[in-house]
Symmetry: C2
Subunit: 587 residues, 2 copies
């Protein structure tokens, strides 16, 4: 059993807490968090990006989703913590479990600034009258806890934003009025960065800065520790009439002073923040989040440019990888990923990866969010499939792309799965639909080829991507299960969403093919513009599984890849691309 | 301008109301209502099944959806009431309109027992601090108002229900506990009928009885006026421990006395009922509604039988119709519908239509909920399309079916639209998907053939159907726009839903093809079992628009129709069915 679990239980006893909840949450409920906030990881040893640890005096369990089942099973072995596989039929509901395990008339503990308000509400739903003790018990046992990161904030240029801060504040106030609210408290760092046309680097991979923003009908106040702001940033904020409060602690008092009606996004507000707001609340997706979901014309144009840069890097990487194998050179998951990083570094405006590169050979690719590890690096063999999921931040946008390709001979199972995934990817990209279509309606286009064969994959088909921002952006998403965001998750011009069906055979292989799509409205109906231009691997395709229309879509895409990318290549790369994008046909 | 509008404004002035809302709602928020409750119809003259009338001192507007645009435009002509076409891009949001038109610090009036609580809440969201005056002003000007209907209640047999009232009450209490509630107030008459295994006839087409039901952890109380209950019904209720309160007025006091947490379905609870409940509320789909959405094995078996009976009647009707035309006999919308009624009357266990039959020739079929009218009956000509949407209540289930067929030569536009609608119908029925798939994900299967051609239709692709109950049953539905029910509208064994894509060309023709589907779980994945067996019209099909798979699905369905129905036909009908279901092929 883990030492940290024993020490946490000691603190629980002292604090009078019978059950403690730890998640890797910060006070902004960010997806990626500064190491300072990784309490779940500290206690459990599980390093996956998403999970919730619940500890009682004699049991402990960790809930995580399909992306992390395999990784979590390995990391939680002998920890004294049971793995709960969310979405599996026999997985107990976390809230049910809590209500069953909690001794009568005892209290639940957690760090109230770092837990989503809707989580504590669901607990209250299950256990009416439950009392909560908000205390950072993990902090008390965390001797070498890392310091909080604070880096300077950067101001975007006009050519990057397409809309000034003053204009965005007006848009947000209009949205608040439409929703019957007078003000809003924004905890989500990406919403703040978008609103203020500024970016930071406080969190790995997410170009945001730790802060809070309160907007009412007259004023806008940014709560941020003083060391973040350069003179340029101060001038920029002053020009838009945004006041600066140099102590983030003060946001809780300020939220408490709001009157009228306050728009609150429960999913992105902490227990403590929600309790601070005493005024009447209107619940729903944040106003800035709703607006930034539809990229403006400047953002769309820049995204197209960023995608060309990124597609050149990844296409060259595919050539490099295939060529090394052909030459008989040794490639490992880590050395390959390092080469991809170099190729991105050569591109105009590249500022860093948008998330940790997944470079996974063979069975490792079946772990959806696998990260290669230098200490146990894996050599690529001349058979089976290699999967690479990566993305970049550019001066003109954020990218996300996954390709899977053959390293040598494939099994029939691999070829069939690859072909069905490719068909799903292309059919979703080709969908035509009216404005306002619920995004989850479109998931069928991507999954039908797999479902018809009794196959499926355990993650969303698509997620929103930010503009020079987080690689996962709410509310956009293409999936087949309903969520709280459904009514805001509608398709219209400017939605920027990934198209990434996959298939995972545990212990054998993993396949995912991901392009980024921009929703465009061509007069009457909407459709998608695919903005990623990197070949699929025709060596993996079983043409007999494709309809004529599938073959047409496949060849059309490859022809576009060739046209867009070949001008940026030279010599052998050009020749290879011509071959790699040559039309396929039924025999 | 309508006289009724002028008189209503007089009453508004007396009552101190600046804006009055009238909808054809009863105190159970039923879809079909007793004539007593049709205030919107009384004031506006619009006879469509769904609409909301808003009247100010100098303006009046009526919101209705795509099914009724054409009908409403005709009926509202010169009424002084503006038609608001919901879903059209330029249609003002009703709540926006109300907040714009309402004079400062004035009151909104309505009959609080006959208005959905979520409607008044949305108004409060738009106009914080608004005051409401609950008063039935329409009642004050309605001199010859019809009396309320009260018919005796019938008890279902065990072979019909598959589950006793005691078992259902236990299931409901389990569901309440899962949702964190101790009790529930049920206003929805179909939920009450299902729970108590009883049926009534107080409302046209819906076999329910006007009543309320309160269930807590220990007791269940039915509020119903005494004249409804036969001795058999009293014994049946006593056996299950259900108490009877013979004064429906008392339900409001009883709701007010509830303590603990009360599950309330806001969409099916009136403003006044919601305000009566002083205990803490848990909002969401009603517990009985959630359970009855998944038909049990007995219900599914009976539904299959009811569907065979109904399919025989409609198949024979199609033969009759085509034969009459061939013989050169005169057919009208009304005489044809009368023949269909006769054919249903001959079937075992038929108890009446489940909604008014839509029998529509030519351009009339473009009005989705058109009803033929004897006073201006329409003769069927020997060209174009005829559409018939109808359904029956049987001792063993409720049906709903639409067929469209050729009366003579068709235009290319008609043939193309018919073929695309047929393809959509068959593809949805053939869908394969995991348990728990959001129903709206599947809508893409039905709409893709139309969307790919820049076409669409302005109603849901599917709605839930009750078992010996209402032909429209929540929460099931297949559509591409998000609603409040999405998180409960998931697919699993026993969901009974219609599959009815269509296409409507205003002033020209209308097409709809509707089969009923039962969701079945064949081991790993779910799929649909089509339970309606009536031919499509191969004369309307343009095979060149179909894929090989579409042709296979079409022929497979026709072969099943022949097999199931031919044993019940004789002579010329048999010959005709053989021809009508003969395989189609590409030339």
């Amino acid at each position: 059993m883990r030492e940290e679990l024993i020490r946490l239980r000691n603190e629980m006893e002292k604090a009078g807490v019978s059950l403690y909840i730890a998640c890797d949450c910060d006070d902004h409920l960010s997806e990626y968090v500064d190491d300072y906030y990784k309490s779940m990881k500290f206690v459990s040893g599980f390093t996956g990006g998403d999970g919730t640890l619940v500890v009682t005096m004699d049991e402990a369990a960790l809930w995580t989703d399909g992306r992390y089942f395999i990784q979590a099973a390995i990391e939680l072995k002998d920890s004294g913590i049971e793995l709960m596989k969310m979405g599996e039929p026999d997985c107990p509901d976390m809230y049910e479990w809590i209500s069953e395990k909690l001794p009568k008339s005892s209290a639940i503990g957690f760090d109230g600034r770092c837990i989503p308000a809707n989580m504590t509400e669901r607990i209250e739903g299950k256990i009416p009258g439950i009392s909560f003790i908000s205390a950072d018990l993990v902090g008390r046992i965390w001797d070498d806890r890392p310091a909080k990161t604070q880096n300077p904030v950067m101001v975007l240029k006009d050519w990057q934003t397409g809309r000034t801060v003053s204009e965005k504040l007006k848009d947000i106030r209009d949205e608040l009025s439409k929703r019957g609210a007078d003000s809003t408290v924004i905890s989500a760092c990406d919403d703040i960065a978008w609103t203020l046309n500024m970016r930071g680097s406080d969190i790995a991979y997410n170009p945001v800065f730790a802060s809070f923003l309160i907007i009412d009908t007259e004023t806008a106040t940014l709560f941020i520790t003083g060391e973040h702001l350069t003179g340029e940033a101060m001038d920029h904020l002053a020009e838009a009439g945004v006041r600066v409060e140099n102590d983030t602690e003060k946001v809780y008092e300020a939220a408490g002073r709001l009157s009228g009606r306050v728009l609150v996004e429960k999913e992105m507000t902490s227990y403590e923040m929600l309790n601070c707001i005493r005024a009447e609340k209107v619940f729903g997706l944040g106003a800035a989040a709703r607006l930034k979901n539809f990229k403006n014309a400047t953002e769309m144009d820049n995204i197209r440019k960023a995608q060309i840069e990124d597609s050149i890097a990844v296409t060259r990487y595919m050539y490099f990888f295939k060529h090394e194998l052909l030459m008989g050179n040794v490639l490992t998951e880590c050395t390959a990923a390092a080469r991809l990083h170099e190729l991105r570094t050569e591109r105009t405006g590249f500022n860093g990866e948008s998330f940790p590169t997944i470079s996974a050979y063979g069975e490792n690719a079946a772990m959806c969010h696998y990260e290669p590890d230098e200490s146990r690096d894996v050599v690529v063999e001349e058979r089976g499939l290699y999967l690479c999921d990566s993305g970049g931040h550019y001066d003109c946008g954020t990218t996300d792309i996954t390709r899977t390709w053959a390293c040598g001979p494939l099994t029939d199972e691999e070829r069939k799965a690859y072909t069905l995934v490719a068909i799903g990817n292309l059919r979703l990209a080709a969908a035509v639909f009216p404005r306002g279509t619920a995004a989850i309606t479109l998931d069928y286009a991507a999954r039908k080829p797999l479902w018809d064969n009794g196959m499926n994959f355990n993650h969303g088909t698509g997620h929103g991507v930010g503009y020079i921002l987080n690689v996962h952006e709410r509310p956009a998403g293409i999936r087949y299960r309903s969520t709280a965001y459904d009514c805001f998750n509608v398709m219209d011009e400017g939605v920027y969403v990934s198209d990434e069906p996959g298939y995972y055979a545990e212990g054998k292989f993993g396949i995912r093919l991901e392009n980024m799509l921009l929703c465009v409205n061509n007069g009457g109906m909407c459709g998608f513009e695919t903005v990623t231009f990197v070949p699929f691997d025709s060596e993996c395709i079983d043409v007999s599984l494709m309809s004529d229309e599938d073959i047409r879509l496949y060849n059309e895409y490859h022809s576009a890849v060739y046209e867009k990318i070949v001008p940026h290549l030279c010599g052998a790369e050009r020749e290879w691309l011509k071959e790699a994008t040559a039309p396929i046909a039924r025999f």
